[in-house]
């Protein structure tokens, strides 16, 4: 049971940096860039902005984790 608990914990922890990226991608799909000439509603703008923030914030988080890993390994 101890091993199972820690395997689950590890999977969840490893998934953490990818969660905002996944949510960001979903939001960006749900609120696509409006076609040229078409005006976006306030909700669409907010949704896309949130999607962009989560997506790029998530990417930055993954880069951060990579840097941390390199630091841990003594590469930087």
């Amino acid at each position: 049971m101890t091993d199972l608990n820690y395997i689950l914990e590890t999977i969840l922890l490893l998934a953490v940096p990818f969660v905002p990226v996944a949510i960001g991608v979903m939001l960006r799909r749900k609120f696509p860039r409006p076609a040229e000439g078409a005006a976006a509603t306030g909700g669409q703008k907010a949704g896309r902005l949130a999607g962009n923030l989560l997506f790029w914030g998530g990417i930055a988080g993954i880069v951060f984790m990579v840097i941390v890993l390199l630091n841990f390994k003594g590469k930087i």
């Binding site: 101890t2 820690y6 953490v16 988080g61 630091n71 390994k73």
Partner: protein
């Protein structure tokens, strides 16, 4: 041809005074560093000097010129510490260490009056220390007279000795002993000065023994309390943490070795500050680490931790205002180049050396615990990374090696969130000890960037992106 004759005659006339000067004997000048150096070393007396040929005099002066200037700087630095008002530790240190030989050095380099004043100060404080732990204790007059030499807290400490020593005597009498013994008095002294360390106990014992021995042997400290994850050491960290246990053992060996000097004034040479001898690296990745030491005499940086340790051991008590240990960190451990420091080895190195509210800065990742919950996503990710790297990875590597799950769990649960800064603050009382709750990102360490900035072998971190935590006596305090 005429101009040539004029030029030759002109040159001869110009060279003549120089030739005359070179041939003249150099008068003994007790105020010149070179002559002070001769006096201290006993190389020449004034009479012996006068009998030297002028050429030999010039040669002798040239030989010791640099050494003399260096020595002068060192002794004046020592004197600046010794002439300040002392706290309890300094009082014990100086009264134990300053004897005739050291006083002679101050007489020569600083001046007769200053040397005499220091002699009066040491003798008086020594007498008062002895009197403080007798039944009589210190009187108001004694305390008033001591205020010239000691800070008020130190005087209060000394006055408290009477009570402490009395209790010890009663206990000894109750136990059927007539003499409370030195150990009891020493224990009282330690308690009153807030320095119940074995090392200080030795100092006090020496003081009461009247020993002029200048060995200040620290107790060996070697603990595997914060061993790094062995799997991690073996695989991921590689060169950084693989040799840590060996290095800690090495540090313990160093601590076992007695100090060669009682104070820098006696027989020491200043350690080389590595900042002065920087060589430009062309590496694309960083190998930055070092120790920065700030004292009343200024700031010195050391690339080699052993040199920094030697310099620290030579310093008088209470003289370190700030020390930055820079390098890779891990929960409960700070590495600096080939050396690594845990709470116990840091305590052994710095105990008694820190000035009041002096700062010990561990500039390495995860040198404090993760702390409480946070809304900062970067801090959150750092917590996740720390748990993964310092718990999950070593745990599963242990399991792969066939180790019992419960044992492995207990070990790594205890280790992954160790707080080096807090543990050190419990050892080095009064000092503010800071570490990072997160991985600290130093822009100057990034590959390529480090080359552009020329910081491959930097000894100080500069800007660190990380969450800092500071402790004093085990309690969290704001960062200074």
């Amino acid at each position: 041809m005429k101009p040539i004759y004029h030029a030759i005659i002109g040159l001869l006339l110009a060279a003549a005074p120089g030739a005359v000067c070179a041939a003249e004997p150099v008068q003994w000048d007790a105020n010149r560093p070179e002559f002070k150096f001769f006096q201290e070393k006993g190389s020449y007396t004034e009479d012996a000097w006068d009998q030297l040929a002028p050429e030999d005099q010039e040669k002798a002066l040239e030989e010791v010129k640099d050494k003399a200037l260096e020595r002068e700087k060192l002794v004046l630095e020592d004197y600046s510490y010794a002439s300040q008002k002392w706290d309890s530790r300094q009082a014990k240190f100086y009264t134990d260490k300053i004897r005739n030989e050291e006083l002679k050095v101050f007489y020569i380099w600083v001046g007769k009056e200053e040397g005499q004043e220091l002699n009066r100060k040491v003798s008086f404080v020594r007498d008062m220390l002895a009197k403080a732990s007798t039944e009589e204790g210190l009187t108001d007059e004694d305390a008033a007279a001591l205020s010239r030499y000691l800070i008020p807290e130190a005087i209060n400490d000394l006055r408290a000795l009477k009570t402490a020593a009395g209790v010890q005597r009663q206990a000894a009498a109750a136990a059927g002993r007539q003499d409370p013994g030195k150990a009891a008095v020493n224990a009282s002294l330690d308690k009153a000065s807030g320095a119940a360390s074995k090392a200080n106990g030795k100092d006090i014992s020496k003081f009461f023994d009247g020993s002029a021995g200048n060995g200040d042997v620290s107790d060996p400290v070697y603990s595997k309390k914060y061993a790094l994850p062995k799997g991690v050491v073996g695989s991921a960290v590689g060169g950084i943490s693989g040799s840590m246990s060996k290095q800690v053992a090495g540090a313990a060996d160093d601590l076992l070795a007695p100090n060669g000097t009682s104070a820098t004034t006696v027989k020491s040479a200043p350690p080389a500050a590595l900042g002065e001898a920087k060589t430009k690296s062309k590496a694309l990745t960083s190998d930055a680490y070092g120790i920065t030491l700030e004292t009343g005499a200024g700031v010195k940086t050391f690339r080699k931790p052993k040199e920094a340790e030697a310099a620290i051991r030579e310093l008088p008590p209470g003289s370190v205002k700030k020390i930055i240990l820079y390098g890779h960190g891990a929960p409960g451990l700070q590495s600096v180049g080939d050396n690594s420091y845990d709470a116990e080895s840091t305590t052994a190195l710095l105990k008694g050396k820190m000035a009041k509210d002096g700062v010990i800065q561990f500039a390495g990742c995860n040198t404090a615990s993760i702390g409480g919950p946070t809304l900062n996503p970067a801090v959150g990710l750092s917590m996740v990374a720390r748990r993964l790297l310092y718990f999950s990875v070593p745990y599963f590597l242990d399991r792969k090696d066939g180790r019992n799950a419960e044992d492995s769990k207990q070990e790594w649960e205890k280790t992954w969130n160790a707080d080096l800064a807090r543990d050190t603050s419990n050892g080095v009382k009064g000092a503010i000890v800071c570490g990072y709750r997160t991985f600290g990102l130093v822009p100057g360490r990034l590959p390529v960037v480090t080359r552009l900035m020329g910081t491959q072998e930097a000894t100080t971190p500069g800007y660190v992106a990380g969450k800092k935590a500071c402790y004093q006596d085990g309690k969290e305090v704001p960062a200074p």
